[in-house]
């Protein structure tokens, strides 16, 4: 009896995997289609543009070409780094390490875990709520949210490439200081004890 159950279980698991893989494939195809459509669209626009403004076309082309080259240089690497950290640093790890917080170590961890490239902002909010429920301090959670939002490592690479190292370094420093101040102000003014009752 149990053997039969097991087989059935395995079957349903495999089916689920299959369905998931199919969904992924479908999305992949959709994205490829969208990319091709975008290419055709801009191809037409540029042809029209060239026809009507032949004297401005070379300037447009060289400008576009410059940015295209820069993107090809950095984007694949940045995407690979993001993919790798998605696999190796599951969000459950973030929760585990931010849950217990000795004051300084907790803040350091909040900054460190926030800079890891793991997912968009709307994933961070549920994690933050879970951390508050687990009695992490509000300042740590706010620091984590702030760093997660604006100081991600692969994005910094893009920023340095397109805007400049000095700008990136200054923005990193001032943003980090601001996040700490915001976190302190919020911890002083908001009482998290009633977090569970309010939400």
């Amino acid at each position: 009896m149990t053997a039969v159950d097991n087989i059935e279980n395995n079957n349903s698991k495999e089916n689920k995997k299959k369905i998931q893989a199919e969904k992924q494939n479908q999305k992949l195809k959709e994205n490829i289609k969208k990319t091709i459509k975008t290419l055709i669209f801009w191809g037409i626009i540029l042809t029209v543009f060239r026809y009507f403004f032949p004297e401005r076309f070379p300037a447009a082309l060289s400008m576009s070409g410059r940015y295209l080259k820069e993107m090809i240089l950095v984007f694949p690497a940045v995407l690979v780094i993001m993919g790798l950290s998605d696999r190796w640093v599951p969000t459950s790890m973030v929760e585990k390490y931010l849950g217990h917080n000795s004051s300084f170590k907790g803040k350091f961890l909040a900054v460190f875990l926030g800079t890891l490239p793991t997912g968009p902002m709307y994933i961070a909010f549920p994690i933050a709520a879970e951390l508050l429920r687990k009695k992490a301090s509000l300042s740590n959670v706010i620091i984590f949210l702030g760093v997660w939002a604006s100081l991600k490592v692969p994005q910094l690479g893009i920023e340095v490439q397109f805007i400049g190292l000095k700008f990136s370094v200054l923005r990193f420093i001032f943003t980090l200081i601001s996040i700490f101040i915001i976190a302190l102000i919020m911890e002083k003014t908001i009482d998290v004890k009633d977090f569970n009752e309010n939400v």
Binding site: K34, Y67, V80, G83, D86, S178
Partner: protein
């Protein structure tokens, strides 16, 4: 130079990851490919638009609106624009770079990037649901104010 560092770093990580787990590395590469294809249409449009817009827009116009010395209206406008927009920062950063190349000041660009990433009018419903009214209002409000401070400081030091 920057590109070389990033690429070497990525290759190094990839190599280590490959040594540790073949399966996880393949999964990571798949995620990268998916993300890349998801971003591709926007990136292509951005590249084409930059070319067309800058072929027409005289740099003086960008300088007039986004250049010059620190002005509260200009920087505040950039900050508000960043707060309401929902652009992935991987797209917004090259765009910001192109504006600076064309003569925009660093201050409005810094304000724009800061609010774009820290303040999210579009994600406020999610934040309200997860963290409550008080935390949401304080966090977004303070981030908006500090975006101006960050922009001002960058303007001073750069």
């Amino acid at each position: 130079m920057v590109a070389a560092v990033i690429n070497i770093f990525a290759l190094l990580l990839l190599f280590i990851s490959f040594l540790k787990s073949n399966k996880k590395t393949k999964g990571a590469l798949k995620i990268a490919l998916f993300k890349g294809l998801g971003l591709a249409p926007q990136l292509i449009s951005l590249v084409a638009l930059i070319g067309i817009v800058f072929a027409f827009l005289p740099p003086e116009l960008i300088k007039e609106f986004l250049g010059g010395n620190f002005s509260l209206i200009q920087v505040g406008g950039a900050a508000l624009f960043g707060a309401v927009m929902m652009i992935p920062s991987l797209i917004a950063l090259p765009l910001a770079g192109s504006l600076i190349d064309a003569g925009a000041s660093y201050t409005p660009v810094a304000a724009f990037i800061t609010t774009l990433t820290m303040v999210g009018f579009v994600t406020i419903p999610v934040e309200l649901k997860e963290l409550g009214k008080k935390i949401t209002i304080y966090r977004n409000g303070l981030a908006l104010i500090f975006a101006l401070v960050i922009a001002f400081m960058i303007g001073v030091f750069i």
